[in-house]
C-alpha cells in the first residue's frame, strides 16, 4: 500500500490507482487549465493588471454584477426560507409536485431560462405588461438581471434550509410554547437560530452562483455598457476583440472572488454541520 494510506482500511484494493487517476484527471481538466489564467495574468505585472480591472467600464460591471447578485441572494434568502417552511410544515394540494419543481433552475438550461424570462418580463409580456403602464421596465434593465439571478439562485436557499427544518425537533417548539412563547417568539428565538447557519450558507451559495452567471442574464439584461453589462459578458466581449490579456485579467479578479466565496462557504458549512450535530 502507499505511504499515504495510514493503514486503517488498507485491506481494500485499488487505493493507488483510484487516487492516481483522480489526481491526474483533476490536474488535466481543472487545475492546469485554471492555472493558465493566473500564469497569463502574472505576465502582465501588477500595474498592467490594475490598469485593466480599474477602468470605469469594468468597475461598473463589478458594481452591477455584485450588487444585483447580492440583492437576488437576499430575495432568495427571504422567499427561499418561506418556500422551505411551507413545504416542510404545511400539507396542501400539489405540495410534492411543487417540491420537485423547486429544482427547475438547476435542471433548466440557462439559455432557455433567459429567453423565457425575457419573453414574460418584456413590456408586452405576460407579467411585464402590468408594470409597463407605470413606467417600470423589467427586461433589458438591471431589474431584468435581478429577475434572472433570483431565478437561478432560488433552489440553493430552499435546499439548504429544508433538511435542517425537517430535522428540527418538535420538542424544542413545544418547550418554548409551554414556557409561554407565542409562535412569533418561538420562531425568532428558537427556530431561526437553529436554521441560521443553513440560511447563511444557502445565501452564500446563491450569491456565488449569481456572480458567475451568464446564460440566463445576457438575454434579459440589455447589455448596455456602464448600465446593464455584467462582468462575465465583458470577458466575452474582450475575447471577441481578441484582447486575451484583458479578458484573463478580469477573469482572474473574478476567480479570486469565487475562491474566497468557496472558502467562506466551506467554513459556513462546517459551522452549520457542527451546529446541527451539537
Amino acid at each position: 500500500m502507499s505511504t499515504l494510506s495510514s493503514g486503517r482500511r488498507n485491506v481494500l484494493p485499488g487505493f493507488n490507482i483510484s487516487l492516481g487517476f483522480t489526481l491526474l484527471y483533476l490536474g488535466l481538466i481543472v487545475l492546469i487549465p485554471l492555472s493558465a489564467a493566473f500564469i497569463k495574468t502574472w505576465g502582465m505585472g501588477w500595474e498592467g493588471f490594475w490598469a485593466v480591472v480599474s477602468t470605469p467600464r469594468v468597475v461598473a460591471s463589478y458594481k452591477l454584477t455584485f450588487g444585483t447578485s447580492l440583492m437576488a441572494a437576499s430575495i432568495n434568502a427571504v422567499f427561499g426560507l418561506l418556500v422551505a417552511w411551507v413545504l416542510v410544515r404545511y400539507d396542501f394540494w400539489g405540495r410534492r409536485i411543487i417540491d420537485a419543481l423547486v429544482d427547475l433552475p438547476f435542471a433548466l438550461p440557462t439559455a432557455v431560462a433567459g429567453i423565457a424570462l425575457t419573453a414574460i418580463y418584456a413590456g408586452n409580456g405576460w407579467i411585464g405588461q402590468f408594470f409597463e403602464p407605470y413606467g417600470i421596465k423589467i427586461a433589458f434593465t438591471p431589474l431584468g438581471i435581478l429577475v434572472a439571478l433570483t431565478f437561478i439562485g432560488l433552489p440553493f436557499v430552499v435546499r439548504t434550509v429544508q433538511p435542517v427544518l425537517e430535522d428540527l425537533e418538535k420538542e424544542l417548539e413545544e418547550a418554548a410554547a409551554s414556557l409561554g412563547a407565542n409562535r412569533l417568539q418561538t420562531f425568532r428565538h428558537v427556530i431561526l437560530p437553529a436554521i441560521g447557519p443553513a440560511l447563511v450558507t444557502g445565501f452564500a451559495l446563491a450569491f456565488a452562483r449569481a456572480v458567475g452567471e451568464y446564460g440566463s442574464v445576457i438575454f434579459i439584461a440589455g447589455n448596455v455598457p456602464m448600465v446593464s453589462e455584467i462582468t462575465p459578458l465583458l470577458i466575452i466581449t474582450k475575447l471577441e476583440q481578441y484582447d486575451y490579456v484583458g479578458a484573463t485579467a478580469i477573469a482572474v479578479s473574478m476567480l479570486v472572488v469565487s475562491f474566497t466565496l468557496l472558502l467562506i462557504i466551506n467554513l459556513l458549512q462546517g459551522w452549520a454541520k457542527k451546529r446541527q450535530e451539537a
Binding site: 502507499s2 499515504l4 494510506s5 495510514s6 482500511r9 488498507n10 481494500l12 484494493p13 485499488g14 487505493f15 490507482i17 483510484s18 487516487l19 487517476f21 483522480t22 489526481l23 483533476l26 481538466i29 481543472v30 487545475l31 487549465p33 485554471l34 493558465a36 489564467a37 418561506l82 417552511w85 411551507v86 410544515r89 404545511y90 400539507d91 396542501f92 410534492r96 411543487i98 420537485a100 419543481l101 427547475l104 438547476f106 435542471a107 438550461p109 439559455a111 432557455v112 431560462a113 423565457a116 414574460i120 407579467i127 431565478f151 432560488l154 417548539e173 413545544e174 451568464y214 462575465p232 470577458i235 475575447l239 486575451y244 477573469a251 473574478m254 475562491f259 468557496l262 462557504i265 466551506n266
Partner: protein, 298 residues
C-alpha cells in the same frame, strides 16, 4: 398554472396547536410562497411551451426538423455521451479513494473537486482558449499539425467536462463515507477480489446515488451554455449545441423556432426532475427499510 389550494387538518373547534400557526396565517404563507414560485418558476416554464406552440404544430416541427437543429441535437448528444461517462468514471474513482481510505489532504482534495462549481462558466471556456486557442500554449503546435480544439467539437467536450466535473463525485463521496467499508471488508475476508468487491458489493449499494449524479450531470452537460459558447465559435451545423442554437435563432428574431428548440431542453429538464424525484423516492424508501422496528426474535 392553477394555484388553487386546500388545507388539510383545519382545526375546527379544537384548542390552537402550540406548534403550528392559525389557519389564516398558514393560508397566507402558502399563498405568498406559491405566488413567488409562480412568478419566477412556473410562468417561465409554461411560457416556453406556449411560445413554441403559438403558431401551431407545423412551424414547431419545421423548426425541429431543420438540418441545423438536427445537427445541434446530434452534437449535444455526442457531447453528453463523452462527458458524462468520463465524469462517471472519475466520480467513482475519486469516491473510492476518498471514502474507503485515509490519507492526508483528503479534505483539500474534496474542495478541489468542488472547484468547477464556483468558477463562472465563461471563465471555464476562457481557460481552454488560453491553452488550446490560436494564441494559447499549444496554439502554434496545434495549427502546425492541423488539429482544431477551440471552435471545434473537442473544445466543446472539454468545456462541458469542466462544468459537469463534480456532479457524480460529490454525490458518491458522502454516500460511500456514510456506508463505511464493513461490507467490503466482509467480502474481502470471504475471499472476493477487488473486481468482485466492487461489482457485487459496492456498486449495488451506490447504484441509486450513482444514477442520481449521472442524471444531474447529464442535464447540465446537455444544457450548458456559457462555457460552450466561449469555445464553440458558433459555426452553424458544425459547432452549435442545442442551447447555442436557441441563442442564434433568438438573436435572429426567429422566436418560434428558438422556443421550439428551447422546449426540447425544457422537456429534458422536466424528465430530469421526474427521474430525480423517482430516485429520491426510491432511496428514501430504502433508507426507511434500513431501519426496521427492532423486534428481536432469535
Amino acid at each position: 398554472m392553477s394555484t388553487t389550494l386546500s388545507i388539510h387538518n383545519t382545526p375546527a373547534a379544537k384548542a390552537p396547536s402550540s406548534t403550528t400557526e392559525p389557519w389564516l396565517v398558514r393560508a397566507l404563507l402558502i399563498g405568498i410562497a406559491l405566488a413567488f414560485l409562480t412568478l419566477f418558476l412556473f410562468v417561465p416554464l409554461v411560457a416556453v411551451f406556449f411560445e413554441a406552440l403559438k403558431k401551431g404544430f407545423g412551424p414547431y416541427w419545421a423548426a425541429l426538423a431543420e438540418p441545423d437543429a438536427i445537427s445541434a441535437i446530434k452534437l449535444t448528444l455526442i457531447t453528453a455521451a463523452i462527458a458524462v461517462p468520463l465524469n462517471l468514471v472519475f466520480g467513482v474513482s475519486a469516491a473510492w479513494a476518498i471514502a474507503k481510505f485515509q490519507f492526508r489532504g483528503k479534505q483539500f482534495l474534496i474542495t478541489l473537486i468542488d472547484l468547477p462549481f464556483s468558477v463562472s462558466p465563461v471563465i471555464a471556456g476562457l481557460i481552454y482558449v488560453l491553452i488550446f486557442g490560436a494564441q494559447g500554449w499549444f496554439g502554434s503546435y496545434l495549427s502546425d499539425n492541423d488539429i482544431k480544439i477551440i471552435f471545434a467539437v473537442p473544445g466543446i467536450v472539454l468545456a462541458t467536462i469542466f462544468v459537469t466535473f463534480p456532479f457524480v463525485a460529490r454525490e458518491l463521496i458522502p454516500l460511500m463515507e456514510a456506508q463505511g467499508s464493513d461490507e467490503e471488508e466482509a467480502a474481502r475476508v470471504l475471499g472476493a477480489n477487488g473486481f468482485q468487491i466492487f461489482w457485487k458489493v459496492t456498486l449495488p449499494n451506490i447504484k441509486w446515488g450513482l444514477l442520481y449524479g449521472v442524471i444531474l450531470c447529464n442535464a447540465r452537460a446537455m444544457g450548458e451554455f456559457g462555457a460552450v459558447s466561449v469555445v464553440s465559435g458558433h459555426i452553424r451545423g458544425l459547432t452549435n449545441t442545442l442551447p447555442l442554437h436557441v441563442e442564434i435563432l433568438y438573436n435572429e428574431y426567429a422566436f418560434t423556432a428558438a422556443f421550439a428548440t428551447a422546449s426540447l431542453l425544457a422537456l429534458l429538464a422536466l424528465v430530469t426532475l421526474g427521474l430525480k424525484s423517482l430516485v429520491e423516492w426510491r432511496t428514501h424508501k430504502r433508507i426507511n427499510e434500513e431501519l426496521p422496528p427492532e423486534n428481536p426474535q432469535p
